[in-house]
Amino acid sequence: MHFSDLGFIALILGLGCAVYTGCVAVLGAQRKNTRLVESAKRGVLAVAFFLVLASAALVVSFLSHDFGVSYVAQHSNLAMPWYFTTAAFYGGQEGSLLYWALMLSVFSAIFVVTARRVAPVLAPYVMVTLMAIETFLLIVLITVSNPFARLSVVPPDGVGLNPLLMDPGMLIHPPMLLMGYMSFSIPFAFAVAAMITGKLDSAWLRSIRRWMLASWSIQTAGLILGAWWAYHVLGWGGYWGWDPVENAALLPWLTATAFLHSTMVQERRGMLKVWNLVLVVASFTLAVFGTFEVRSGIISSVHSFAYSDIGIYFLVFLVIIIIVSTGLFLYRLPKLRPEQEFDSVVSREGIFLLNNLLLVGIAFATLWGTIFPLISAALRRETMTVGPPFYESVNGPIFIVLILAMGVGPLLAWRRTSSRALWHNLAVPALAAALCAAVLPLAGVRDIWANVGFAVCTFTAGAIFYELWRGMLVRHRHGEAYPLALYMLIKRYRQRYGGYIVHLGLVMLAVGVIGSHFFQVQQVNTLKAGQQMHVAGYTLNYIGNIEETGPGTDTVKSIVQLWKDNQYQGFIYPGRIFYQNFGNQPASQISITTIGLTDVYVLLADWNGASEATIRVFINPLTSLVWYGGALMLIGGVICWWPERRRKGIQVNSEMPGIPGVAAPLGPPATTVEQGEKQVGQDDKEIVV
């Protein structure tokens, strides 16, 4: 008996449990039998247990180098360090599916454990939906994509992991992104449960939003890490290539972002109910579509996945999801009436609608570009593709408008805003933006689009800082020091200020993208020892090549001195690393030196003997801001998500429109009242989670 056998048995038992749980949950809900529902809850925990067991069996197979397991032999070898051997768990198709199923079961278990807060009517249907997805994954794992399949002949050593994957990024980026994809199942399950039961109350809204926030944060982390990895490993000087695989990860993020904004309208004014459900279902559908797309080989991508027949399973699954959710929509539609009406475009609702249209517009354009080969093949019988220029020129302008809306939005009140109040709030940031637009050309920013982009970012950053400043000022007047005031502000109004932090992160990221997109300089030179190359104020002094041998690897490095404006910056060692089993596929060791906010990105393109090298240099201005901005977005997301201590006796759900919300009544009441008066649109009520 091998560990792999144990794993396979665990998968089968997990499938049994999942099917049982689904059936019992439905029965329990239909007959209103709490004992059956309780049994279903325990069933969910059992599924999680079996999947943890199966995953552990696979990890143990890897760590004990059981090359009798085909998957282990394909993705690891004896020379790999233990952490890459463990990470190889999700390094291939079978394992990544198992990882997905594992994460789904773990999240389902978390749902069950925390389900006390969820309306008892909803919980069984959430479980049914989750278990249906789990069942699908387990069937695929057991039949077509079995990670525990054994070889008849046990090879002495495995193939090893692909060199591009032998990077610290491998340890965290794929699991994060896969977890992100998977996590959209939970909001989806909530949506399905709400459509079946017709219970879309404020408690439901709070739960689904918190889960969506979690998914959003995970997906944000996955996307940023993916970009970071591509930047550090692939060696083309960029971090985002609009490849179908990248787009697939971006799509659900966009619709989730839209959802997080439009739920505020639903929460506040009882509108957009149908639209919000559409967004939740779309996020999950797009996540499944992404998995289908990258694994079916239907769209040509620079990432080649194993072209197995697994694609058809996902296609069928996708079709089922779409049919079921459309059916539920039609069934539930008559009940989903908005409770209130729209008043004025110049209002918080108006800007949220704008935000939604723009985000969905970006998602549409990206999806269009991604599946354009299929569309053109169907319509014109010719396969055509669109490349990065398409996405840049479509999504670029939309993003800029989005960032502008992001600056204006928080300054608008619900329902309607007088133009005087609006101007009062906008004057300072608008002035800052105008100043920025006027000064930048003097500083060498001649490109009109870059200038517009920077000015818009300045505006929005200015608006956010202005808001923060005014909030702090109010608290400061009540005797809090500024740092404490800021801390208290964020602590007390987590959703609002967490949102601002996310916005600020996105603005930083946008500045980084604009900088590296418009002002990247690249140059290639073949140098002999002692020769220099000059790129945009930087001087590279090439000294020679060295070779290093490590366990299972062989590395060629160039020794280069880096100078900036005649100031010595240090030695850099761009190189190539060869892995034993992948001798034909050297991986680049890119040298990235960050000076200020500018990256000097140096790549050893080719070499000849010990004293000749072809060196490719990218000067990427402001790229660091992409990472800082991404990190800030993540922090903001977590702040928004962070559970608040429950407070008793606060009811904020049945509020009349137009009356400023009674802000959370903790702390000095004078502060809250004053804030409500002083700041237009500061009347967000606090959600007690």
């Binding site: 083309w236 080649s304 490349g387």
Partner: protein
């Protein structure tokens, strides 16, 4: 007030006697929708690149001016590099069809005989295909696509 025939979002038609979505919302929504659709349409027109097979390429009349993409497997022993000019020539094959390619620029890390590449560029009908872009299909994050040595 206008009936909400073309509501910009999926916002469903509200209840009986109340007023519908205000006109300003409809106009604003439609304007944004139109802008997005225009952007997508215009840029599709401007940026679409034909994906062709080698045999289609041979019969292509517009490929001198229009950029096209061709995929194929790099042939053994066909790679000739000129490091001074960063020039590389090679032959890609698609089934039995072969196509010589010249490319000027930095070659991806994993470029070597036997891998699948996508070249993008112009073809005059004779001589080699002039590639402006060379994309190597990168063995994915999740699958070691390279055969065992």
């Amino acid at each position: 007030m206008q009936p909400a025939l073309a509501a910009p979002t999926e916002e469903k038609i509200p209840s009986r006697r109340r007023k519908r979505l205000p006109l300003s919302f409809i106009i604003g929504g439609l304007a944004i929708l139109a802008a997005v659709i225009y952007l997508v349409y215009a840029n599709t027109q401007a940026n679409a690149v034909y994906y062709m097979t080698v045999s289609e390429l041979r019969n292509c009349t517009t490929c001198t001016t229009q950029s096209v993409r061709v995929a194929g497997v790099v042939q053994q022993g066909s790679i000739v590099r000129n490091d001074q000019q960063q020039l590389v020539t090679f032959v890609i094959a698609q089934g039995a069809q072969r196509l010589p390619v010249t490319y000027n620029g930095v070659v991806p890390d994993i470029f070597r005989p036997g891998i699948e590449v996508v070249v993008e560029g112009h073809y005059t009908g004779q001589g080699p295909f002039q590639a402006q872009n060379l994309l190597a299909k990168c063995p994915s994050k999740f699958q070691a696509a390279t055969p065992t040595p």
